[in-house]
């Protein structure tokens, strides 16, 4: 009764056309509620852009500035095509992990959508960027924009000096190895524009001298390599291929090393995003849902607003079943949202089952628990830790084992008492980058011989490398400048040579 009377005092605009004043009013209210919930965020910076600009940002991996490359043009064209056909409700949002946190609103959206995006991106994602340990460790929100500007200028300068084509070929090669250009375990130093610039000249000089050192020792050896156990170089396998290229490729010019470094740094910057999709999107959905519902309960939102909002919300968090036509894997928005909602439920109204499964969080303060989960996990561990039987039942999750040596597929576990842990384990592994992507590391460089580089692929559950691997090897050979081999180590420990890409003449292009 009380609520009904309060509701009459709707005083946020309820039109579908937006205006700057209206956005401002919404933002003010959302910011207030977010603060009441204790969300810790970078100051948001809301920018209004057109659909074309949104496509632009999409094409250049969501960054407001980036260097030029044909692949961004390609992405733009395909985004544009699907937008023209109306295939995507374009760009719900783009938000940049920077300080201040930039969130884009698209001009074409209705006022409701703008409010939704503000809550979702400028508060949901924003607080995740600020809180999650991966982002804290791997990215530096204060410096990224500056660094991108530096990179863009540097690459443009190289293009001027050495020719666009030369730079383009180099970037192609770096992009091919981008996913393997990250440190997974080591902590990177912080980025800073001033330092970058200052140190860049020093570094190029130093790097070059290092490389020279490495190769200078080459002819002058009086040991008998046949008898002595040959020292491998690198002594430990190196997981970061681009890093290895930057530091040790014998023939690269200093500017080429710098470009390798730029691509590597950007890959590193996006590394956390690839590992926290479920958490991050789920977190943002949870907060736009929670924040806007709070405003509605306070009587600030009109019913028409709520209906439109709920419709887009349900579209986003919809999970199709495996046999539906538009099934395309587990929807990270859906899973993430359900899990965060579920954590809150476990805290606020735990059942017997929850006490059994989550004794340490059942009945605890939900804000504290969620904050802890948001800060200290990534998808893999988040699923392993918090996926509850209830969510598994709601999603009707089941696992299928596909072994190419078996004639049939086997249902390995379903959402029942004996299967919960197994399903959770498998799903968690699905989000583990280590098993999602092939594990390929630098194994050895033949320092005393033909300078060839050997990569080793640790096979995971007998999965072979996909079709484009030979192309990637050509790129690797281009960067390395000498023959590159790829060995596959099977799970039983045997090693076989999978591929060899030779470069005959110095500085030449890889032959086929």
């Amino acid at each position: 009764m009380k609520r009904a009377t309060v509701k009459k005092t709707v005083h946020l605009p309820a039109t579908s056309e937006w205006s700057f004043e209206a956005i401002d009013e919404y933002h003010e209210q959302i910011a207030r509620v977010a603060k009441e919930f204790g969300l810790d965020v970078y100051p948001p910076q809301i920018e209004l852009i057109t659909a074309e600009q949104m496509m632009d940002a999409y094409a250049s991996v969501g960054m407001p500035v980036n260097y030029h490359h044909w692949s961004f043009g390609k992405h733009f064209l395909s985004t544009e095509k699907s937008y023209r056909r109306g295939q995507m409700g374009l760009a719900y949002e783009i938000v940049i992990n920077s300080n201040p946190c930039i969130a884009y609103l698209m001009e074409e959206n209705t006022l409701t959508m703008q409010a939704l995006v503000i809550a979702h991106a400028a508060y949901g994602h924003n607080s995740f960027f600020k809180g999650n340990y991966l982002f804290q460790t791997w990215t530096n929100a204060d410096a990224i924009i500056d660094y991108l500007i530096f990179a863009r200028h540097y690459i443009a300068e190289c293009e001027e000096r050495y020719g666009e084509e030369e730079v383009e070929l180099l970037l192609d090669s770096c992009h091919a190895l981008m996913n393997l250009g990250v440190d997974r375990y080591k902590r990177p130093p912080k980025l800073s524009l001033a330092k970058e610039k200052l140190r860049q000249a020093e570094r190029t000089e130093y790097l070059q001298s290092q490389v020279n050192q490495l190769w200078r020792t080459l002819p002058v050896h009086d040991t008998k390599p046949d008898k002595v156990q040959v020292q491998r170089f690198p002594p430990e396998p190196e997981e970061n291929l681009l890093y290895f290229v930057e530091k040790h490729a014998p023939l690269l010019e200093p500017w080429q090393r710098e470009i390798v470094r730029i691509v590597r740094k950007i890959a590193q910057y996006f590394f956390p995003q690839r590992q926290t999709q479920v958490m991050n999107e789920g977190w943002a959905c949870f907060w736009h849902y929670t924040l806007l519902n709070r405003l509605y309960d306070e009587g600030l939102l009109a019913d028409s607003f709520m209906l439109e909002f709920l419709q887009s919300h349900t579209n986003v968090v919809y999970q199709p079943a495996y046999n539906e036509r538009w099934y395309n894997g587990i929807n990270p928005y859906a899973l993430g949202f359900a899990m965060w909602q579920d954590i809150r439920r476990i805290c606020e109204s735990p059942t017997e089952e929850d006490y059994a499964w989550f004794p340490d969080i059942a009945g605890s303060d939900w804000r504290e628990t969620m904050e802890f989960a948001m800060r200290n996990f990534k998808d893999e561990s988040f699923v392993a830790q918090y996926l509850s039987p209830k969510v598994m039942r709601d999603f009707r999750l089941f696992a299928i084992l596909d072994d190419e040596h078996e004639p049939k597929l086997k249902v390995s576990a379903i959402h029942d008492g004996s299967g919960y842990r197994r399903v959770r384990e498998i799903l968690s592994d699905q989000y583990n980058l280590g098993s999602r992507e092939p594990n390929i590391q630098v194994w050895n460089v033949d320092l005393r011989g033909d300078r060839s580089l050997t990569l080793r692929h640790q096979q995971y559950r007998r999965r072979p490398l996909g079709g484009t691997a030979d192309e990637v090897m050509k790129h690797m050979a281009r960067l390395w400048g000498f023959t590159v081999r790829l060995e596959t180590q099977h799970e039983d420990g045997t090693v076989e040579l999978a591929q060899e890409t030779r470069i005959e003449k110095r500085r030449g292009h890889p032959d086929n």
Binding site: A59, H69, G73, K81, A176, Y327, V472
Partner: protein
């Protein structure tokens, strides 16, 4: 502190550079696609962009990835029938089903990357093949110029265009029309008053009444506005396309057995280029297609390029037909006549001198320009040698032997030069 920044008016086309890079990188593929597109287009239809499709394997960005095979244990949602330990047949390969693979269910296969070329980009590639000089490229690619011209008057427009005479005339007419009933009554009353005054009754009650009435009528006439908004007339200026003359273009092509598809494709480029040129210069263009082997026939474009004939070649038949058509339809002097002839040079020996005569005496005098191309990698044929005799004497005749589309432009060099100065 809230910051809302309006970036909608920031520089557009930020991705233009990336698009250019993309185009440059895949020039070969795009060019091939454009060539295909040209085969399927009418020669009049050069002003549109084109949907280009490139095999996507050509532009893939390679990555190390897991391929199919080995062991995959994966979680799916929406279980409706399975229990632990069930065995299921594998879905047929490529059939989508519950495999991770996305079934391609929309029109195009996943094999092609499709995008839209703009008109400029399309023409650029077209010109590239033809090795056109830049100046002429811009000349041809320019959208038709307009000039403004007066077209009477209209009742709305900008103040700068007000036509004062018309407006005042309108106002005057309106004032007369609105005022005239009152004016005639006024005159009658005045006359009556004068009569009363003349008859000495100037102070009578009736005279006062009349005076009042006269004053009222005067005020009424005064109240008619001197000029009203609907009196205003504005000069009407309309835009008309600048080229205002008409031209007819004759495409003459040998379709005997020796002209294969490739030669026809080259010929098509040749006709297209001439058409494009004419299109910029003339407002209206007729195109007449004449094809010939031993006999000539006027046909439509489809048949012109696509049907095949075999047998010998008598070129003069086509020239005769062209002459007849000119005399019949375009002879009355209001048409600019352009001729373009493409052949592989094969002709019946005794026919070539006849061709020279017809061309020299009956066709060239009528023509603005006549261009002949011989598409052959071999030695010049007899028709070429006969035509060479004409070449020196006629400024409006051009001929060229070509092997590739890039050789086409020199045929038109004179033509373009004339219009550029």
């Amino acid at each position: 502190m809230t910051r809302i920044i309006d970036r909608r008016f920031d520089s557009k086309k930020k991705s233009a550079v990336n698009r250019q890079r993309f185009m440059r990188r895949f020039k070969q593929q795009i060019r091939r696609a454009v060539t295909d597109a040209i085969q399927n287009r009418s020669i009049r239809d050069l002003d549109n962009g084109e949907q280009i499709s490139i095999p996507s394997k050509d532009l893939s960005e390679p990555q190390f990835q897991h391929g199919r095979g080995g062991i995959w244990d994966q979680v799916f949602s929406g279980n409706d029938q399975f229990s632990t330990g069930d065995l299921i047949n594998r879905p047929p390969p490529g059939g989508g089903g519950k495999g991770g693979g996305k079934a391609s269910n929309e029109g195009e296969g996943e094999d092609d990357f499709v995008f839209q070329l703009s008109r400029e980009e399309f023409l650029d590639i077209f010109f590239d093949d033809l090795a056109l000089p830049n100046l002429i490229r811009t000349q041809l690619a320019r959208v038709t110029d307009f000039k403004t011209q007066r077209a009477g008057f209209k009742s709305d427009g900008t103040p700068a265009n007000i036509n004062i005479i018309r407006s005042m005339r309108g106002a005057l007419g309106r004032r007369l029309a609105l005022g005239s009933p009152s004016a005639s009554r006024l005159r009658a009353l005045q006359q009556e008053l004068e009569e009363l005054v003349a008859s000495g009754d100037g102070d009578s009650e009736r005279a006062d009444e009349l005076r009042d009435e006269i004053a009222r009528l005067r005020a009424k006439i005064e109240a008619i506005p001197f000029i009203d908004s609907f009196d205003l007339r504005y000069n009407n200026r309309i835009k008309v396309p600048k080229p205002t003359t008409q031209a007819v273009m004759f495409c003459v092509m040998d379709v005997s057995g020796s002209m294969d598809e490739e030669k026809k494709a080259t010929a098509k480029r040749f006709f297209m280029l001439l058409y494009l040129f004419l299109n910029r210069t003339y407002e209206h263009i007729d195109v007449v297609f004449i094809r010939h082997h031993t006999v000539a026939k006027e046909v439509d474009e489809e048949e012109f390029f696509h049907s095949r004939e075999s047998g010998g070649t008598v070129v003069s038949s086509a020239l005769k037909l062209m002459h007849e058509v000119i005399a019949e339809r375009y002879g009355h002097g209001s048409w600019n006549i352009y001729g373009a002839q493409a052949s592989d040079g094969d002709n019946w020996d005794n026919d070539s001198p006849i061709c020279r005569e017809i061309l020299g005496a009956q066709i060239l005098p009528w023509c603005q320009y006549f261009a002949y191309i011989e598409i052959t990698p071999g030695e010049p044929q007899n028709l070429w040698r006969e035509y060479e005799k004409l070449f020196s004497g006629h400024k409006n005749f051009a001929m060229q032997r070509i092997e590739a589309p890039a050789d086409i432009y020199p045929v038109f060099r004179e033509l373009f030069k004339k219009t550029l100065v």
